[in-house]
Symmetry: C2
């Protein structure tokens, strides 16, 4: 028996940040491309684009900046705000895992 769970940050209309979005942002940050990140995630480009678009809409300042056309066809970079959001959520996530582990020990 083990306590499991999931946690996320809810915005006005949709989810602002969650585990999937976190992993996606990290891969965008590494590759500089939504399409590349989507491949790594084994996720359709459309799905990845929707997640990114949703996050940007929920945030005052965009978490990523997307460029279409130009050198190399364009690309996507994670902004300072995006990196901060990542850090913030990771902290919440580790605390949540601690919470679950603690509750699991009490369980039996």
């Amino acid at each position: 028996m083990k306590i499991c769970g999931s946690i996320w940050i809810e915005g006005k209309k949709t989810t602002y940040m969650g585990v999937g979005r976190m992993l996606l942002l990290e891969k965008i940050n590494k590759s500089g491309s939504i399409s590349e990140a989507a491949k790594k995630m084994k996720m359709s480009y459309k799905k990845a684009w929707e997640l990114v678009d949703g996050m940007n809409n929920e945030s005052k300042k965009p978490l990523v900046i997307r460029v279409s056309g130009g050198k190399g066809g364009g690309g996507t970079i994670v902004t300072k705000e995006g990196m901060a959001a990542l850090k913030q959520f990771k902290k919440i996530l580790t605390d949540f895992h601690k919470f679950c582990d603690k509750k699991t020990k009490v369980l039996k």
Copy 2:
């Protein structure tokens, strides 16, 4: 912005206890019937039966006892162990809600 989440107790093969199962058990306890509880939950009987069956399988001692046929067609009662499991999970749930509220306040 608000921290949201869900939490449950995972057994060996499937979920042992969660919010849906908790509500279902409570309604079975009131009505003495899976089919009646399923109606209240606006859930198909099959789904309710599968949840109940799964819980019983995950537990050493059954959380409910089911009787098919007989007076009134049969029925289902929640055992002492079932009530204890309910109480245990409710405690975890309220602590989890506190956790989320606390994290939401820190959020900004």
